[in-house]
Symmetry: C2
Subunit: 325 residues, 2 copies
DNA sequence: GTTTTTTTTTCAAACGTTTGCGGAACGCTT
DNA sequence: AAGCGTTCCGCAAACGTTTGAAAAAAAAAC
């Protein structure tokens, strides 16, 4: 069955298309009597305006793009939930695309966004993204890009991040304060700016006051392996830069039979869910995806409101005590 | 800055719009020389076709809608991930909307889908959804609806579900086969149809051959409490109906200091992620959101291919061996 | 019964594509 | 020199809306 159009209604009522259009939007030019007739028929025919036609005509799409490595992730899913919620409230739709952490897919996705004439893009870059031109082109077309979580280094972009420096500081301080002697610090891929920042802040705070074994893992399995190896050096504390790394490290610790926090302490930076799965619960510095999503959205709205100021915003971090340190 | 259009290219090249259009799609009517000229300029100007115009002109939108209570959920996020993946591979976009388990928001979302002229809808209804008319209207417009997970009772719809009965069967059989003597079986809220189905199937298979302590927990914390209490009765096996329950039970077990599987065995029905967080990994009957997503997608494609047969499909469950039983 | 004003409605162009059809321009055959 | 077949390209309509401007109809004023 075909959709109802303005034309169809206009023919049935013997009125022009423009009258129908105006009647439906309660335009003052149209008489009450006509408005009523039109509305009645429109309801009866279940009229819904064709969004494509409107967007084409008005060249306003009310669509945001969102590119993320994977939807299925405890951090990103809450980020997306927040952005979707806000978008819907503000009459925007959301085109969500997964890059699978593949730079080629990422550029395909950006292309798709461009074809859909999005009004703005939320982007979390892949770990291999090196060419930022596709993003710059968007900016050139007056399409604001808000980078989140994994962001480029350059400061010519708008970014929202968890407070990497602060959260790593808090974690390091907590370790120092609890008089630990030797920490195994597990970070993510060395190329990511998030890794660099957390590593730098962590090291700066630790300031060589205690022994530190630093390793980099690309995923949970690598984190597990590296932890198993590193445990031979008998650290008394494990610091994990992220949830993914925490899951790997925890498996290694469980496997080793070490008791937390008696034999070994654990502290992590986390979105908040994973640490609560263990007993004792893991002490972590919270970096909320949901809060970050809200921040990203308000940043987007600011850009659309005309702000051209490029900045990096962060959400504050706080320590959530489990019993693991 | 404005987007490049066919018109712009045509003016710069002194050719007609239709020639540009055909050249870009490699139409045989256009000479190689012209094609080359057009492609070069199009590349230089970074031409991307306006999807809205194409959709309007062709009245084909290549867009699916997906309505889910919440994106931030370890079952739904993997379902969505699968659907997004397939959609993109098949040249469809995906409009993802959250209902927040609110029936009013659900109908708003359906309206939005209609306005966007979606080609099909994936829907997980809210727990309060009673009026299915909005969905029926979609069907009336030849827009197939594939319900997933939480589906209406009526059999006039296409549905894809996890196999509740089968998965509980498999878990119970596994317990029986491993010669266990006393099982603590933890189920969810008694009113949910998913609980009823799994409970019935579990009990039927166990068939009173071994002692069973049956409890119901509404959430992870309750599951933890109930497990702690029930452990006093010295079960040698714990069965968990879902991931949420598993997380609670595992905390209780970790707290108790019991060794898995030596002191106590654990088996669960799960999406697959949570069981891998522990060591040893938990043996579980898989009910994969990801696989369900793939099934839903192929069901959608079948509908679009012309199939009008309404059916309820289930993904088969299989036992994934960890080391917990 | 005109003219003027106000109210109500229609016209027509535009948004950016696709596509059936018609028409040059060219070479080839008679 | 006429006919014919190719090859290449342009015209114009259509998709469903919005919107400025013009026109028509109705009401008011003289």
């Amino acid at each position: 069955m075909n959709n109802t159009t303005l034309k169809k209604i206009s023919e049935m009522l013997g009125l022009s298309i423009s009258t129908i259009s105006r009647a439906l939007k309660n335009h003052p030019d149209i008489s009450e009597k006509t408005k009523q007739r039109v509305n009645e028929l429109a309801n009866a025919l279940d009229y819904e305006p064709n969004a494509n036609a409107i967007h084409l005509r008005t060249s306003k799409n009310n669509l945001f793009g969102l590119i993320v490595p994977s939807i299925s992730n405890f951090f990103y899913d809450s980020f997306i939930a927040a952005v979707e919620e806000e978008s819907r409230k503000n009459n925007y739709s959301l085109l969500i695309l997964q890059s699978g952490d593949d730079a080629a897919v990422e550029v395909e996705n950006i292309k798709l966004c461009r074809q859909n004439r999005i009004s703005g893009l939320f982007a979390c870059i892949t770990s291999q993204t090196v060419n930022l031109d596709p993003f710059l082109k968007l900016e050139g077309l007056d399409i604001p890009v808000i980078f989140f979580d994994k962001v480029p280094d350059d400061n010519i972009f708008n970014k929202v991040c968890v407070a990497d420096t602060l959260s790593a500081n808090i974690a390091a301080t907590t370790i120092l304060e609890s008089k630990k002697k030797k920490v195994l610090a597990i970070f993510g891929n060395e190329n990511l700016s998030i890794t660099k920042k957390r590593l730098a802040a962590f090291n700066k705070t630790i300031n060589k006051k205690i022994k530190t074994i630093t390793v980099h893992a690309n995923n949970s399995a690598e984190a597990e392996q590296l932890t198993i190896q590193s445990l031979k050096e008998k650290p008394d504390t494990v610091f994990c830069m992220s949830d993914e790394i925490l899951t790997g490290a925890m498996k290694a610790i469980q496997k080793s039979g070490l008791k937390i926090p008696g034999d070994i302490a654990v502290i992590s930076i986390s979105n908040g869910f994973i640490p609560t799965l263990y007993f004792p619960e893991i002490t972590y510095v919270e970096t909320s995806g949901y809060k970050l999503g809200k921040l990203a959205f308000s940043s987007m709205m600011a850009c659309l409101g005309g702000s051209t100021f490029m900045q990096e915003l962060t959400i504050e971090s706080l320590l959530v005590e489990g019993g693991s340190i």
